[in-house]
């Protein structure tokens, strides 16, 4: 966890982005690491956890992190929580909470609240549009042979 905190500090000091860091460990070895790179790379998805997951997947040549533990300096936001579920590590350890992040101006807690709202009640307008061929990608996927599932 100290290394995740150090990643966060390095990120702020080198103007990479917000004050967040993450380290991913497998069998006692560091397999991925990263800090928040949102503003330096113009990538709103480049939170520390996602940067570290991408790094670990690259290093391990996989899109699944079974057997890995994630150490992150702050409780994951919904985007990062989702990314963690898709990557499927064993454990997630975090230091400060999403309420701490909110206290210095980050939207983590706000987004947790928005998720449970109906489309029409959200701050960003969500709307379902039924169009004729909308199930075609799924039916092609369903009948595809040798597909790589995840």
């Amino acid at each position: 966890m100290n290394m995740a905190i150090d990643e966060a500090i390095d990120g702020v000091n080198s103007d990479k982005g917000g004050p967040f860091g993450c380290v991913i460990v497998k069998d006692g070895e560091i397999v991925g690491r990263g800090n928040n790179n949102v503003t330096s790379t113009n990538d709103p998805s480049a939170h520390a956890e996602i940067v570290a997951i991408r790094n670990a997947c690259k290093n391990l040549n996989t899109y699944q992190l079974e057997g890995c533990d994630v150490y992150t300096s702050c409780e994951p936001c919904p985007m990062c929580l989702g990314a963690i579920y898709w990557a499927r590590p064993n454990n997630v350890f975090y230091a400060v909470s999403k309420e701490d992040a909110a206290s210095i101006g980050f939207d983590d807690a706000f987004i947790y609240n928005e998720i449970n709202k109906k489309d029409e009640d959200r701050k960003i307008n969500f709307k379902q549009c039924n169009i004729e061929n909308m199930r075609k990608p799924f039916s092609i996927w369903d009948s595809k042979e040798n597909k790589k599932e995840y």
Copy 2:
């Protein structure tokens, strides 16, 4: 929306990943597009919406998508919903639902359920660890001058 569906179909047919596509529009022009690239790039975060957001941010040279509309072939999963909130577009239009995605084996609806659970009740173990210097990144950030907020 038809172009988002076409992106999804192209992605499946070219073995890039799952059956999902996304197009981002600003002032009537397409500024970003993408399909699911998870299995072809070993990046579990490379869902269609995130690929399209990264593409739009690159094209517009920004990390914020004010004034943009997101057209996605499927209701965003929590990761993509989070990414959308961080990118801050105006509107999100989607075709099939997260329940449709669940019906062909994708975890979107499952992750929506996990988000509201307590750390100890989740399928992936989450645990807060209090360590002495855990607030140091935030205090450095707080006192930093000329920082780029997002």
